[in-house]
Amino acid sequence: MALLEVKDLKVRVEEREILHGLSLTVNEGEVHAIMGPNGSGKSTLSHVIAGKPGYEVTDGQILFKGEDLLEMEPDERAAKGVFLAFQYPVEIPGVATMTFLRTALNAQRKARGESEYSTPDFLKKVREVSKSLNIPQDMLKRGVNVGFSGGEKKRNEVLQMALFEPSLCILDEMDSGLDIDALRIAADGVNALRSPGRAMVVITHYQRLLNYIVPDFVHVMSKGRVVKSGGKDLALELEASGYTQFEDAA
């Protein structure tokens, strides 16, 4: 059974159809890159998988571990193992990062019928994970993402990914707003989390990110559909020739 199966998905925002019958299959352990020009529907796909309000699915299906994802609330999807790393992680003033992490982790565990972490156990776990990702303890003492640089925000997303141990990670334009050093640090964090039990969908406009997170498969989206799929070489090909050919094809 595939981990994620998107079948002929059609999605509208207000009156406009953004996805016109998109299909995608992701198996455990695979890393898929989704590339495409602005407005091709890449971010819409990530939002619909995570359950962001404001999108109307008019046709098609999303199955996650064989279950209908579209029937679940966003928090249920998170507890099942879906993780969206946001393109622009929000700042939440007044909510301490540690409180947020503990509340989220325990909410997911509770939803799965697992025991909640005690405070000392939780602190131990966060310390381990943040150390392995080179995240300074100082960052954890602040409000969620408050005053964080672009790079720090992305590292905080990677920290959560490491802590929640999802089986599907969707990285939405992880490279946006990052300089090359910040990108390398974030990508190293992601690579450390690659494992046979975990799949990743890397959404990006630029091939650059794929130098650091090397995918198994590359899909090109244009005008709400996947128009071409291939191996990692497809990304290089796109870098040379651009997206224009696919816009014509779609």
Partner: protein, 434 residues
């Protein structure tokens, strides 16, 4: 609408009220005469209504209608119920002073545990000695009514230089349903003293009661005072409280109020700087649900130069509840170098929730820094989605954001234990949201 008719109607009801209460009111014939005068002044005005500017958003005639008869003095059974309620409300380490249905209950209070620098008397013992206890500068009808009918209260005096390690907690307990309690207290804080005063309002099973409380706080020079009020009344109660505070020179006052109950509540605070170089922080939180109406009205009077005031007010309004914040900063002609700011924010959790924010600056000096801001809005959808995408169910995500919203005001409470206690009340309110 015929105003005269409404006034007469209220006046008649109060006449009966005063006649029936008179036998229970403490004080010499002179005090009773002063009470009668106060009550006649109330009778002329009647309950405040929307055409009185200060009461525009809290029309007591429409919201409350009538003043209920005085609660009977508590009997043994009432005191027993009150004792249980006090146990549930007491703050660890605080010296409790308990007023039950408007009467000081020495047996439920930690009178012996009070520090030696604190003098405590019941109001009823002091009225004949100090005629000033029933007098305030205000001409407000509810304050006149309080002067007329106050049955008891505490008169506290904290000596110069006293450094109180334990907070003093005045707990008002209502045990009598469909009755009213009128209390008046005075707290005098001496020069250089340091103290924490807490006031709690709670019900011991009583329903539909009314509270009218007045507190006179006089703080000397070089003092450091935290004054915390927790209005956690029964959901169908009415609580109107008036506070008159004067702040001496080079003094710090940190005032905090949280309203989490009562069908109709109003805290009106009148805070006046009487000495230079003082700092005032006023922080308030209203947590309102169902059809509750909560009003916080503050007048900060910069009567002297070189003082700082900061007001931070947060309202969380669910269902069809209505929150009112009126903040006025007055800067007198001589009060140069005044630094006065207020910020009020309302969080509307439903389409039918209502917030009225009315900031006012009256500035008569020319070298000052004053400002105000007001916002009202719903929870931010993008923040909610972020939290849900991390596994928090809707209600839990909302609760976390609401706590963060009110946190800015609650964080101003310096004492860790007290702050945790207040956070606990806010958390309980959040858990009770259906």
């Amino acid at each position: 609408m015929n105003v005269a008719v409404a006034k007469t109607g209220n006046g008649r009801a109060v006449s009966d009220l005063f006649a029936s209460a008179e036998g229970r009111l403490p004080g010499s014939p002179d005090v009773i005469a002063a009470r009668r005068e106060a009550f006649e002044s109330y009778e002329r005005l009647g309950l405040p209504h929307r055409r009185i500017e200060e009461w525009k958003y809290t029309d007591l005639r429409a919201l409350v209608g009538e003043v209920l008869p005085l609660a009977a003095a508590p009997d043994a059974a009432a005191l027993k119920r009150a004792a249980d309620a006090v146990k549930a409300q007491a703050i660890a380490g605080a010296c409790k002073l308990v007023l039950v249905d408007g009467v000081f209950a020495a047996d439920l209070s930690d009178v012996k545990a009070l520090a030696s620098e604190v003098t405590l008397k019941a109001l009823r013992e002091m009225l004949d000695k100090d005629a000033g206890l029933l007098k305030t500068a205000s001409t407000d009808a509810v304050i006149a009514l309080n002067a007329a009918l106050a049955t008891d209260g505490v008169v506290l005096s904290i000596a110069d230089g006293a450094q109180l390690s334990a907070p003093v907690q005045i707990i008002h307990v209502a045990t009598a349903a469909s009755a009213s309690a009128f209390t008046r207290s005075r707290v005098a804080v001496g020069k250089g003293a340091r103290a924490t005063i807490i006031e709690s309002f709670v019900a011991a099973g009583a329903k539909a009661y009314q509270v009218n409380d007045a507190v006179i706080v006089q703080i000397g020079d070089d003092a450091d005072v935290a004054h915390i009020r927790l209005m956690d009344d029964a959901p169908d109660a009415v609580n109107v409280t008036s506070q008159f505070v004067t702040v001496g020179a080079n003094t710090k006052l940190n005032f905090f109020n949280m309203t989490t109950g009562a069908a109709v509540s109003r805290l009106q605070g009148f805070i006046t700087f009487s000495g230079e170089g003082s700092e005032l922080a006023v922080n308030g939180v209203n947590l309102l649900k169902k059809t509750e109406h909560g009003d916080t009205t503050l007048v900060v009077d910069h009567a002297v130069p070189n003082c700082v005031s900061r007001e931070t007010f947060r309202a969380v309004i669910d269902d069809r509840a209505h929150s009112v914040f009126q903040g006025r900063i007055i800067v007198r002609p001589d009060a140069q170098k005044t630094d006065g700011k207020m910020m009020t924010r309302a969080l509307l959790l439903s389409d039918e929730a209502e917030a009225d924010n009315k900031p006012e600056l009256e500035i008569f000096a020319d070298d000052v820094s004053c400002g105000h801001g007001a916002t009202a809005g719903a929870l931010d959808d993008s923040l909610l989605f972020y939290l849900k995408a991390r596994g928090l169910p809707e209600k839990q995500a909302q609760a976390l954001l609401i706590q963060a919203f009110v946190g800015e005001a609650i964080e101003q409470i310096a004492d860790d234990g007290l702050r945790e206690h207040v956070i606990g009340i806010a958390e309980r309110w959040l858990e009770q949201r259906s």
